[in-house]
Each structure stands twice: as structure tokens, then as C-alpha cells.
Subunit: 343 residues, 2 copies
Amino acid sequence: MATQKTKVTIFDVAKASGVSSSAVSYALNGKPGVSDTTRAKVLQVARELGWKPNGAAQSLAQSKTRRIGLILGYDPQLLAVEPYMMSLISGLGAELEEKDYSLLVRMSMDSDDEDSIIEDWVATSNVDAMLLLNLEIGDPRIDMMKQNPQMPVLAVADASLTAGLPTLASDDAAAVGLAVRHLYDLGHRNIARVAGPEELGHSYIRDAAFSEVTAELGVRYRCLHTDYTPAAGADATKRLLSVNPAPTAIIYDNDVMALAAEGVAAVNGVRVPQDLSIMSWDDSFMCEAAHPGITALNRDIVESGRIAASLMLKLIDGEEVDVVEEPPYVLRVRDSTGPAPER
Amino acid sequence: MATQKTKVTIFDVAKASGVSSSAVSYALNGKPGVSDTTRAKVLQVARELGWKPNGAAQSLAQSKTRRIGLILGYDPQLLAVEPYMMSLISGLGAELEEKDYSLLVRMSMDSDDEDSIIEDWVATSNVDAMLLLNLEIGDPRIDMMKQNPQMPVLAVADASLTAGLPTLASDDAAAVGLAVRHLYDLGHRNIARVAGPEELGHSYIRDAAFSEVTAELGVRYRCLHTDYTPAAGADATKRLLSVNPAPTAIIYDNDVMALAAEGVAAVNGVRVPQDLSIMSWDDSFMCEAAHPGITALNRDIVESGRIAASLMLKLIDGEEVDVVEEPPYVLRVRDSTGPAPER
DNA sequence: CAATGGTTCTGAAGCGATTCAGTGACGACT
DNA sequence: AGTCGTCACTGAATCGCTTCAGAACCATTG
């Protein structure tokens, strides 16, 4: 509690408690080797002096940093507007906080950058484990990590992308089923999708699932790829509405695009949901606040973050982790989807 | 490049290059004390062995972590939906990355938590500097930091809240002027505001500025406080619209609430902007995607993050930093504001 | 009573870098 | 030829902690 002008070390605490530095270490870390009375005394003195073990020294001595690495792909626009990353961070942070770990965050401008950050972390041991996000198909980072088995890593992605790495897996295919099924049950037989960039692994997974499910149900399906921005979403919507026959329902890969689509519809006198049903893949406050409220696939991203954190802690402890499923998607039906218009 | 099974240290590099460990250190850090030829040789060997200095050892030896601390207040909902924090992180991350620093992130569940994280960072030297966000009036953290001058800190807040600490200051009062002026010029004489939680320092600053500016202009003004959620925003809107005379313009402290307000208006047959003008304090894709597009106060948060990072690096270098102004707010006029309705 | 065993505690050797003081070697200058 | 200075390099101390091996002490036990 008392604030100290000069740096206080374990030896100061040792001297003040009349024991050796090793005793202090044992006392503080709850290890055997000191009596209860000296332990209490030491803790007391440590508190008075406001002493905590120096992080660097501790890391060096036990080769543990109590840090977990997260690399953010640099696109401020996207990061800011997509609730995904921030939710994940919330979950990670909350869980790690309980275990006294922290999150080390770095930003990569491109994929080379990201590779070099990974190399850096492996070489410098600046983190105890790391998270792999936004995997692409045949992602080279997977091999990098396999060649450095001393650095635990958890991939958050569809299990088909992670080649046996410990994985927190989302079941995007099941979600596709939910979404399509919902629209199918409402009578839609011609649906479209406005997706994100084609290179992203999850775009690909979803593409495949959509094609498969719609084919099975005999539903007409087409897909446009965009850069996730509302402008692109609006543009794609206009194009979709101008073909003949126009889709009666459109699913957007994120919520801003769905919101923009509602605007396009309003401007063009297309009523939602009477003339056009709109769905969003991601759910957020935005979908709730929009008018009409946007039907969305919802998942507990914060919880995913917590699970991811706990899995990494397991990996750090040397436990095996294979593939763990994320909390499943849930369909939140709001007012933007309705029965398909009579033809 | 070559991947190494076992941990490689500076001594391995020294042996392989036929020099001492000190020579390796000098060579790597670009310091004098080695010839150009041995320097080249050492760097070459280091690259071949894939060696980089161990982070903990380096930190311990030079008492520098190359890390900057950021504490996130835990409210996943808010964090996720407000683009502010993620944008700030983007800016911080981008700037820090260039200087080879990283961001150490922890999450606080409440303010006691946050205090103990700060104490921890001060005592363990786990970061070289830290950021102070969401200051409240008379925030105790300011005193904590003043008592520990060895830990550089930068506050991001209105300068009136930071009691002389190095500050990246936003001029919320000027922004209030912009906003009110815009509405005033459109003929509005009865405006309302839906704000965030009253405890937040910036809420208070804005409250005061609004009262002052509207009084000056002879504009009727009232303010409701909420928890920032769209539901609360919608609710506040309904209440405001039911009073007599109802305001002809409402300013919302964030964009989800403004979006929700558009929904409320639509449901109640209130036309935007003919019957009611709506503005948002924060700008994001959401305001652009909404229909009608929401007039908003826009500021370059990413740039603020970059500036904050560079200021902290200055502080770490021992330079003085007083109060630096953030990039100013800019009014982005869209379709949600228009001339005040004739009475 | 010697032997054994169990606590409690200490000294010193790590961890892997940086950095200071010191040693040769060599060239330049008087 | 002798001295000085510079340059390249090395050995050892240092950062602050953990942890192992062993010392000191006391209590049991056969």
C-alpha cells in the first residue's frame, strides 16, 4: 500500500522480514518450505513495502510470460464496425484476467507482417501461447506453427481449415442450414447472398455450404462478393434487385451491409419484409436498433473468447486440445424476414 | 530462417560466430565495439540460427519492456457496438508496431479492479507506459499516477479532467458548438439530447457545454441520460416525443441510439428529417448505412490512437508532454437533419 | 543414545540478455 | 624507439527472480 520512491526488490523484503530471499519467494508463491508464521510475516512486509515480483525477472526465471498473443489484421474500418473482434477480446480478456494472464496485441498490416510477428514471438518467447484467426485455405501459418511445437497455438476457424491444430471450431455449415431453412419455411425459393471477400476461409466454407443446402432444397441461389462495406452492400443489393427474377430474400455476411440494404429497399419502394426479406449473418445491437429489426444469426462471441482463453491455458499446461466446438449459432428472428411474396 | 528445435541463446550465436557474447550483443544492437566484418558475420549467423534476444532477459537487463498498457472497462456489449475503442486500438497498434512496441491489454470488471491492475503494472514494471481512459470527475487514478512518477501515463480526456497529467485532449465543447449551431441554423429552437451515463467525465463536459451554448442562443434544451443501449435510446426518444412541445431535433451520444431513434420515428409516423432531425455524436459506417443517413460528429479516432501512441513513446524517452489536442470534430451532414418544421 | 526423518531455512547457481572495465594489437606521431 | 590513442574484443558483473542442494534444528524412534 505504502508508495515507494525507489525500486524495491525481493532482497529488500527479505531483509525487512529477517529471512533470505528464497524464503520470500516460497512465501509469496504459496510453496512449502516456510512456516506459517514466517509466511504471514513476509506477506505482511511485502504488502507494506508495496512489493510485487518484477515481471521480467519472473519471466526469465521460470520461462513463463503469463501473456497470450493476439494479432489483429489491420483494417481499422472493418475492425471498428464489426463487433466480432472486440467481442472476442472481451471474452478473452475476461477469462484471462481471472487467471492473471494478459493479452499481448499487435497489429499486422499484411500477411508477411503477420508471419514476422509470429516468428518474433516464437524466437523471443514474448508470449506463452497465441491465437490464430482469419485462416485462409492452406494458410502457411499452420505450417509455421507445426514447425514450432514449443509454442502452443489455438486456431479459431472451421475445423477443415486447421489441419489438426488445436481448434476452436465454429459450425458455419450448420448456421447456413438454419438460415436457409428459415427462409425456405417462409416460402422463399430464390435467395441470394452478399458475402465478404472471397479469400477468407470462412467465406469459402459458407459458399460451399450455401450451394449444397440450396441445391438440396431446390432453391435458386446466387452469391456476390464484396469488401464488407455498407457501400458495397448497397451496391450488391441494387444489382440483385435488378435481375429477373429478383431474389425474394438476401442474406448478408455482416450487419452493416444488411442495414445498408434496408436503406436501398426503402429508397426503391421495396417493402421489407413484404417484398424482400433481409437477414444478417452477424448479430449486434445494430440489428436490434434497425427498423425493421434485422433477423440475424446470433452467436455468443464473448463466450467463444472465454472458451478460447481457457483452451489456451490448457495448452500452456501441456494438456492436449483437439477440436472444440464454439457455442452454436442461434437464429434471432426479427421483422426483416417474412413470407415470400406471391408471384 | 532455419527452424530450431532447442532454445538458442546469445551464446550459441557467439560460439557459432567465433566471438564472445558481448560482441554479439553489440553487433545486434548496432552499437560500436565490433568491426563491420564481424558485425556482418554475427548478423548472418543469427539469421541462420533464427535467433532473437529473449524478451524477458532483455527486459530485465535494460528495464524496458517495449510494451504499453491499456485497460478495457468490461462491458462487452458496449465495447462491441461502440467503434471507439476498437478504432483507438487500431491507431495505437499501427503506430506502436512501427516502433516495435506492443499493446498489453487487460480487462477490468470495475474500478477497484482497474486500480489493482494499475498497481500491478507499477509494481511489476510490466509496461513502459500506460493509457488512462474514461476518466471520471476527480478520478482517483490521477492521484495514483502522480504518486508514481516513474510510470509514464497519458490521459485521453478533456483537459479539465486530467489535473496536469500529460493529456491527449478532445474538444468536446467545440463539438457541441458545431452540433448546436448546425441545428440552430436550420431553425431549430427546441432541441434535446440523449446522453450516456452521467458518471462519465465526458458526459459531464458535454452536459455543461450544451447548457451553456443553448442558453446563449436562446434555444430550449433538455437532456436524458441512458446506458447507451438502443433500447434505452428508443425509450428516451419516445419520452421526448410525447412532451409538449416536443423537441424538433435530438442529438444522441452514440450511433446505435440514433439508429434506434430512426426506428421509433418510423413506427410512430414521425418523418425524419421533416418532422424530427436526428444527430449522432459518434460517426461510423452505421450512420452512413442507415436510412436516412445520420448526420454525425465525426472525428478521426484512429489518428487519435496514433497520436496517443507517439506521445507515450515520447514520455518513455523522458520528453515532456503537456496537453495535446486531438484532431477536431467535423460535422458530417447527412439526411437525418433538415429545416425545423413550421409550427 | 545414535540413527532417522521432517521441517524450516539459506547460499548459490541458474535464466539470457546488457554493459562496464580492462586487455591486446596496431598504427601514428614525436 | 617509445609513447599514446584508438579500435576490436573479452570476461565478469548485473538485472531480480526461482529453485536446487544442503545445513541446522528439533522431535521421534528402535
